[in-house]
Amino acid sequence: MKIHALFLILLLACLYPSLAQGTYENCCLSYVKKLKKSIQRRTKSYRIQEMDGGCNISAIVFRLRKSRTFCGDPKQQWVKDLMKNIRHETVSY
């Protein structure tokens, strides 16, 4: 009976899916609170970081020159406003 239970628990409880390999993506880890107007004007494009398993937070990644980047909180108004004015990178690079 006891061993029955042991086998059963083992087999039933192991019904979990696994995450095989880690992929090590470039991710935003936190947000910039406010970006100066002058810098905002310099942003060229943005891409959307999704929380689909690769990164831990969702974010808007603004790209400046020299491939410098800033992470914006998609919930903040200034981020939404800025997104309207610049190019959305559909093909990530």
Partner: protein, 382 residues
Amino acid sequence: MGSHPDFDYDDHFNDSSYDEHYENYEDFHTVCDKKDVRSFAALFLPVVYTLALVVGLAGNSMVVFVYLSRKRLRTLTDVFILNLAFADLLLLFTLPFWAADAINGWEIGVAACKITSAFYTTNFSCSMLLLACISVDRYRALKQRSASALSLARGNPRRQRLLLCLLVWAVACVLGLPDLVLATVKQHSGGRKACRAVYPVTMAQGAKASLEFLEVLLSFLLPFVVMLFCYCQVGRALSQAATSGVRGVQRWKTFRVLIAVVGVFLLTQLPYSVVKFVRALDTIYALVKDCKTSKGLDRANQVTESLALMHCCLNPVLYIFVGSSFKDHMIKLAKRCGQTGRRLRQGSEMPVPVEVSLKLREHPTDNAAPESDDEDTSTFTI
């Protein structure tokens, strides 16, 4: 276009304040570039995986060869060990793909990604499952002599072994299913293609975290607790057998095998599970905001996962080569243990929990008594 001159002027004029501003936030609010983590992986993982592949292929294929060339497998543990070697072999076959992935990114398509991921998960979990099953069977074999065991002894034992193995493989395949569904090739911001599970955006955080927690709980803690429990019982029975005249040196050798089995499991799986647990916490609470820490965690993940994979090379060593020299010897020991157990039970010196289990087992085995003698020969292999 009208604002262009203004832009350029501003650009030029505010350079110093921009840089100042930028420096302040550099560590925390730019994208954390993990190029160096990936280049570490591109060097480290192929080396480790090649090593694992060579050692693992040699050991496990030898086990499969030896066991299949036998006319019949004597014990359930033998059957489990054969299956374990098979699962380890299949797991090892995915390693070249992961090594290539670490070097170049995933270039061989979505179908290959799905199949490789599912294979990896299925066989990794099957391996863990079988390790626990072996410990349960060894424990069962030891207890069997005093009260012949449960449903396994009922009916045709060969058919039941087959069924049990099919059950283990079926569960493992179910575990591989989510990978088959979710795994896909995704191009990420570095330009590389990666083969990973992509969750629906709305459920991603909760799903990923709960999966990682569950994985730690079930692929490490549960097998570990089961193994620890079963092998402690076996160990205790062995030390009781010492009183019935088993030599000290033999006993120590047997203990050594048990300690090695549990110890190696702990050494290889614990670090990976700890890292996984921390990563799961990080997924929920986004704890790591520092790029260096995040990279450190990624490296730790690579190293500990490689260590965890090494377990499948060590299985043949632990379960066959270390054990085989003690095999005959263990059978003798187990017989004595059984006699000791019987004697102890009659003398009501048996520890309480075991006694409870024996009583519980009395009921289903009553009607199975005739067949039980047949199973009696399957004693104890380490």
